[in-house]
């Protein structure tokens, strides 16, 4: 295959009044002032939002922060099958399995850590989960924090959401 050449049109030459910029600056200021005035008159049309007091509604399939689901009795739904750390391309999930106090459950995660600094939000863990125990439907990003340790979400944090 040969490399194709695409011809791109050069920007047209500026006329003399344009090259002086004077008129153009005034025109630009006009646009800015126009927006400001129209925003004062019609406040509901403003495009920007007052984050973090106001938050945008995310689309339903947005992959955000993880959460762990609970059973009816409040215990984690996760059975520590290790499907999510197996599927995880970023290797950000650490599970330690243990013998559950509930004999009907048998296996449960003693530890379930997600390193949010490593997570790439691909959603493979959700796809892999056979128990629908992990979801990414919290609809929000990982908030920033000041230490790395705080961004390793433990099982308690993940069950709260």
């Amino acid at each position: 295959m040969t490399i194709g050449v695409i011809k791109v049109a050069r920007p047209r030459e500026m006329s003399f009044p344009e090259s002086l910029y004077l008129v153009e600056i005034v025109k630009g200021l006009g646009v800015t002032m126009g927006h400001m005035l129209s925003n004062i008159v019609r406040q509901e049309g403003i495009k920007t939002i007052e984050y973090p007091e106001v938050r945008r509604q995310m689309p339903p399939r947005f992959r955000g922060k993880h959460r762990l689901m609970k059973r009816e009795n409040g215990a984690p739904r996760c059975v520590a099958c290790y499907c999510c750390p197996t599927a995880c391309p970023a290797k950000c999930i650490t599970i330690v399995a243990g013998e559950s106090p509930d004999p009907a459950v048998e296996k449960y995660p003693v530890r379930f850590d997600i390193d949010m600094l490593r997570c790439v939000f691909c959603g493979m863990c959700v796809e892999a989960c056979p128990c629908d125990a992990i979801r990414m439907d919290t609809g929000w990003f990982t908030p920033p924090d000041d230490t790395r340790e705080k961004l390793i979400f433990t099982i308690d944090t993940l069950l709260e959401k």
Binding site: V79, A80, C81, Y82, C83, T86, A97, G98, E99, P103, E106, K107, P130, C131
Partner: protein, 525 residues
């Protein structure tokens, strides 16, 4: 020799071979659950059905003996339908709890379902017959009756290999299950094998329970260090953590089995390891660097030999060391230090339990090798200990974590009599608590070498993963010490040491790592 054709391929096999084994010879895999090469043929799982010309019905390949002129087909639609049907029947009451099952990843049901099944279940979970899960039936085994496919491998193992017959079938039809008799748990030293031979997750290991998923594990060939039998094992590890040992087939040694205590020997390679070299100054541990510690140890040994004569220096070898290490250590003691104070002991604290199958009374993997290499055992060791106790030794080099059967107090009292004690060991123990200088050694999983079993079989254990912490291969330590003492050794790794040993030591003459191969080689004479 009967000649038959399997899927159009002609095979010559000895009289009495089953179709299943004949097919294996030509690379045709016939699915099976109840058949196990080391157990009697039961023919009850019906997975190995094959079509044989002139037979009106499908035959079980495991129990049908080949005949001259037989024409066997394993790839016809009739066979496939039958096998899929058998698999569906087995899965009717299976709980499909793979997410919490330790067998997942090495499970016969999972593997064959992907190959021959892929059907939708016609039973709802509620309609299934539920049996008792998570039963501790003694030994190293957890029983989940629900997952069982009633292949009877475990029943035959306990009947034919251990002869203890603890497990049996109870109830009938859909309710049929294996179980122990009430109040009579598994009571033998080979229960761990049940988890290995169980093709599904009905019998799983208590020790390995929920520790790790099997698909994360990697295996390497090793030798069990629990006793002098030298059972061949596959060591399974993830990173630098060992998770389990499984028997590796060697018909000359352990067949397909290993004992329960041997299975747990991996724990010492994970826990309480010596990871950094250190010296003890006025009772306190002070971390040292290899670069300064090795010359220092060599200098102290040499200085003691020069000052009071070579008989003021002693070397205690360990039957936990490989042949290569013992060979270098003997040369270091006799040629370089010139001392006659060299001994080891095969004795350890404990009962020295033995049976007539795999468990040997000598709990060290390489006592035979040490004796063959001319390191004296028994009485000579006792003489050396009394000499140390009498204050007749100025510098001592100890291999191993314990001094034979001596307790921690006895070891501490004995080593206090010697001004300088250097130890090369893998784990914290009585010796590391008393030694003046501690040189951490790589464990069996972290180095390569050979052991000589009680029967004189030289077998290789392989390097699994790099040594933890700052531990070093003892061959490397010995070469470094030897060269500081003026040996001029050029050994690089255990292979070159083995080569030199095979040239100079009669019992190992003519051996090489290639000739040892997978299964080892008997010594001469």
């Amino acid at each position: 020799m009967p000649t038959l054709t399997i899927n159009g391929m002609a095979v010559d096999v000895p009289q009495g071979t089953s179709i299943l084994n004949a097919a294996k010879d030509v690379g045709v895999e016939i699915p099976h659950y109840c058949y196990h090469p080391k157990l009697s043929v039961a023919g009850n799982c019906r997975m190995c059905l094959v079509e044989v010309e002139k037979f009106p019905k499908l035959q079980t390949a495991c129990s049908t003996v080949v005949n001259d002129g037989m024409v066997v087909r394993t790839d016809t639609e009739k066979v496939r339908k039958a096998v899929t049907g058998v698999l569906e029947l087995m899965l009717i009451h299976h709980p499909i709890d793979c997410p919490i099952c330790d067998q997942a990843g090495e499970c016969g049901l999972q593997n064959y379902y992907m190959k021959f099944g892929l059907h939708k279940s016609r039973y709802d979970l509620e309609e299934k017959v539920h049996k008792k899960k998570v039963q501790d039936i003694g030994g190293q085994i957890v029983l989940d009756a629900e997952r069982c496919i009633l292949c009877s491998r475990c029943v035959r193992f306990l009947d034919e290999v251990t002869g203890t017959r603890e497990l049996h079938f109870f109830h009938r039809g859909d309710h049929s299950e294996i179980s122990i008799f009430p109040g009579r748990p598994l009571d033998n030293n080979y229960t761990g094998n049940l988890a290995d031979i169980c093709p599904v997750g009905a019998l799983t290991s208590k020790d390995f329970r929920f520790k790790c998923r099997v698909w994360f594990l990697k295996a390497f060939d090793s030798i069990c260090t629990g006793c002098s039998k030298g059972c061949n094992v596959d060591a399974h590890h993830k990173g630098d953590i060992l998770y389990r040992l499984k028997p590796r087939w060697n018909d000359a040694v352990n067949q397909a089995w290993m004992c329960d205590s041997g299975r747990l020997t991996y724990k010492a390679m994970n826990e309480a390891r010596l990871l950094t070299p250190f010296v003890r100054e006025e009772g306190a541990r002070k971390v040292a660097a290899w670069g300064s510690l090795l010359p220092d140890v060599a200098f102290r040994l040499k200085a003691a030999a020069d000052k009071g004569g070579p008989d003021r220096v002693a070397v205690i070898a360990s039957p936990q060391s490989s042949n290569e290490e013992l060979y270098l250590l003997r040369r270091l003691a006799t040629e370089l230090l010139g001392t006659r104070n060299l001994a080891f002991t095969h004795r350890v604290a404990g009962d020295g339990f033995a049976d007539d199958f795999l468990i040997q009374a000598d709990k060290n993997p390489n006592s035979r090798g040490a004796r063959l290499l001319g390191i004296p055992d028994g009485a000579v060791f006792d003489v050396l200990v009394s000499k140390i106790a009498a204050g007749g030794i100025d510098a001592l080099l100890v291999f191993g974590n314990v001094l034979g059967p001596l307790s921690e107090e006895e070891t501490a009292a004995l080593l206090a009599k010697v001004p300088f004690v250097a130890q090369v060991g893998t784990n914290e123990g009585p010796v590391s608590k008393a030694a003046t200088a501690v040189l951490p050694s790589a464990s069996v999983a972290e180095r390569g070498g050979t052991f000589t079993s009680h029967a004189g079989r030289v077998q290789r254990f392989r390097f699994g993963f790099p040594a933890r912490g700052k531990a070093k291969n003892p061959v490397e330590i010995l070469v470094a010490l030897g060269n500081r003492l003026g040996a001029g050794w050029t050994f690089a790794g255990e292979a070159s040491v083995f080569h030199a040993m095979a040239e100079s030591e009669a019992p190992f003459a003519g051996m090489s790592y290639d000739s040892l191969g997978m299964f080892g080689q008997e010594i001469k004479g």
